[in-house]
């Protein structure tokens, strides 16, 4: 918190004069006050309540929760699958972004539109939609319902847009002159891609990967119908938290939720650092 406040003068946005700590007028200060009260009631206090509830029994709450084999298995599955899906997204997302920006073909607009569908579609419907094609009655004859593959599939579906949408604008803004200069100096295509294009995309890919990982870790709705939520097999962390809540064990639910919050917070900080670095370079 302290370092964030101290670091504020290096912020890329805003037009504060150096040395002035606050440029709030009376009206805007009132606005900020009201916004902060709402933000606290809605987000900060409830999230603090989770951490407080989890910490009621000290560290015992955490160790007991983590030592539960079913919970541990859910954490392992979630992290494993989220990491796997993020790797898929790094490759596929970058490729999709490339095709959308550099390629011209009939139907490209439709492809661009379809990428956003997983973001806008209700998560429970996402599960149902995948079940239609990859479930027991699917026309392909492939049935992944209630298997680990169903978790991968659902997570890949809901996280599809993240890397595409972070890489796409960066790729579109890339300076064509530099690439042409490199080509005129005799650099081969692969060298240009590896040495020029890819490095400038890395921050965007990293930001998208962080978002995609965070989303995958926290996914719930799309897994409900598709994965069967079987303990030790397809049960993810969110499902585990919900079963703790439904069982009335708020302390364990809060302990597990705190761990998930830690991951979310880590991702937010990582994103902030990446964005700041990019802004400074640009």
């Amino acid at each position: 918190m302290t370092s964030a406040v101290l670091g504020q003068d290096t912020r890329p946005v805003g037009r504060g004069r150096p040395g002035v700590r606050s440029t709030l007028t009376r009206g805007s200060a009132l606005g900020l006050g009201i916004a902060m009260i709402w933000f606290s009631l809605l987000v900060l206090i409830p999230l603090a309540a989770i951490v407080a509830t989890a910490g009621k029994d000290g560290w015992a709450g955490y160790t007991d929760t983590l030592r539960n084999p079913q919970t541990w298995s859910a954490i392992k599955l979630t992290v494993e699958q989220s990491a796997f899906v993020t790797v898929i997204n790094v490759v596929m997302g970058t490729m999709i972004a490339w095709v959308l920006v550099r390629d011209r073909f009939w139907g490209r607009g439709l492809l661009d539109l379809v990428i956003d569908i997983p973001f806008a579609m209700p998560t429970i419907v996402a599960g149902l939609v995948l079940l239609g094609l990859y479930g027991p009655k699917g026309p392909l004859g492939i049935n992944v319902a209630n298997t680990k593959t169903s978790v991968t599939l659902a997570l890949a579906f809901v996280t599809l847009p993240f890397i595409v949408r972070t890489v796409q604008p960066v790729l579109a803004e890339l300076d064509a002159d530099v690439e042409e200069a490199a080509a005129s100096l005799g650099a081969r295509r692969l060298t240009i891609l590896r040495r020029l294009v890819l490095p400038s995309l890395v921050p965007a890919i990293a930001a998208g990967a962080a978002l995609s990982f965070a989303r995958a870790i926290s996914e719930y709705g799309s897994l409900v119908l598709l994965s069967g939520m079987l303990p030790y097999k397809t049960e993810v962390v969110s499902v585990r938290v919900l079963s703790f809540i439904e069982g009335g064990d708020q302390t364990s639910a809060a302990a597990l939720a705190t761990i998930m919050l830690g991951v979310a917070l880590f991702v937010i900080v990582a994103l902030d650092v990446i964005q700041r670095r990019v802004a400074r370079r640009g």
Partner: protein, 270 residues
């Protein structure tokens, strides 16, 4: 600009289209086929069920509240973050993004711990004053606001940064008061970004499932929303009805995307 050799270009194009088609396109088409498998029978069954109709009404009501609140909050917060300097601004800016990476289930739990009427931090006091939050619309509106909180802010901030405050300063120096400047200069300039954020917020709100499952109590005919009805119908072997309601929800979300896609070029050319 470096271009790939033709075979590589075609291979890449093919892989990308195949991946997106198998992951999104075909499954969505299958849903439509399932929904219309018996003609319109599933739709008639679903929309003659008063519980389904009620769930749709609840979903729309909750979403409109959440959109209204988040639009005011989002525009106000974006203005504060871009136009003013204050201590803690960077931390606040980062915290606003937090809801996007918090699990819906965790959001539901968080609100439950503070606002439930029995053991919550504020719940018992609020209920003593007749305000029931959990298993009731206030809690459902809050959960929906929480999950879609950053969407308007994140759309408006870049546009506000880009347009700068020259025009606003000019208006002020010509004697316009803060409200006039906001109404005549700032709001028209960020209009499309706001609309874009609103549409995204609407899509997200209509589809919220996990957080609402916890704070709504999922009471059929009372606090049950459309996505919750889909789960219930599917698990109760009324799959046709589940497909019909899902189809309607997909249709709305696709419409939202189409609107957003149509707005985007307008925004960049103006």
């Amino acid at each position: 600009m470096v271009s790939l050799p033709t075979p590589a270009k075609w291979a890449l194009r093919l892989v990308v289209i195949a991946y997106v088609f198998l992951l999104v396109g075909w499954p969505v088409i299958t849903l439509a086929q399932n929904a219309f498998a018996d003609g319109l029978a599933s739709f008639q069954a679903a929309f003659s069920d008063p519980d389904v109709v009620h769930s749709l009404v609840v979903t729309v009501e909750i979403s409109l509240w959440a959109v209204a609140i988040n639009t005011v909050f989002g525009v106000g917060m974006a203005l504060l973050l871009v136009r003013y300097e204050f201590p803690g601004k960077r931390a606040l800016s980062a915290l606003i993004d937090l809801p996007m990476s918090v699990s819906p289930v965790v959001i539901g739990l968080a609100l439950l711990l503070v606002y439930n009427g029995r053991t919550g931090w504020f719940g018992p006091t609020l209920e003593a004053h007749g305000i029931v939050v959990i298993f009731n619309s206030p809690g459902m509106i809050m959960a929906t606001c929480f999950v879609s909180l950053p969407l308007v802010v994140r759309e408006v901030v870049p546009v506000l940064t880009e347009i700068g405050n020259d025009q606003e300063q000019a208006a002020t120096s010509l004697g316009a008061n803060a409200l006039q400047t906001l109404r005549r200069i700032t709001l028209p300039a960020i209009k499309w970004a706001v609309v874009y954020g609103v549409v995204l917020t609407l899509a997200r709100s209509l589809g919220e499932f996990g957080a609402l499952k916890i704070v709504s109590g999922n009471l059929t005919g009372q606090t049950q929303t459309a996505p919750l009805v889909v789960e219930q119908k599917y698990n109760n072997f009324a799959q046709g009805e589940a497909y019909a309601v899902s189809f309607l929800l997909v249709l709305i979300s696709v419409l939202c995307i189409v609107v957003v896609t149509m707005l985007r070029p307008k925004e960049s050319s103006s």
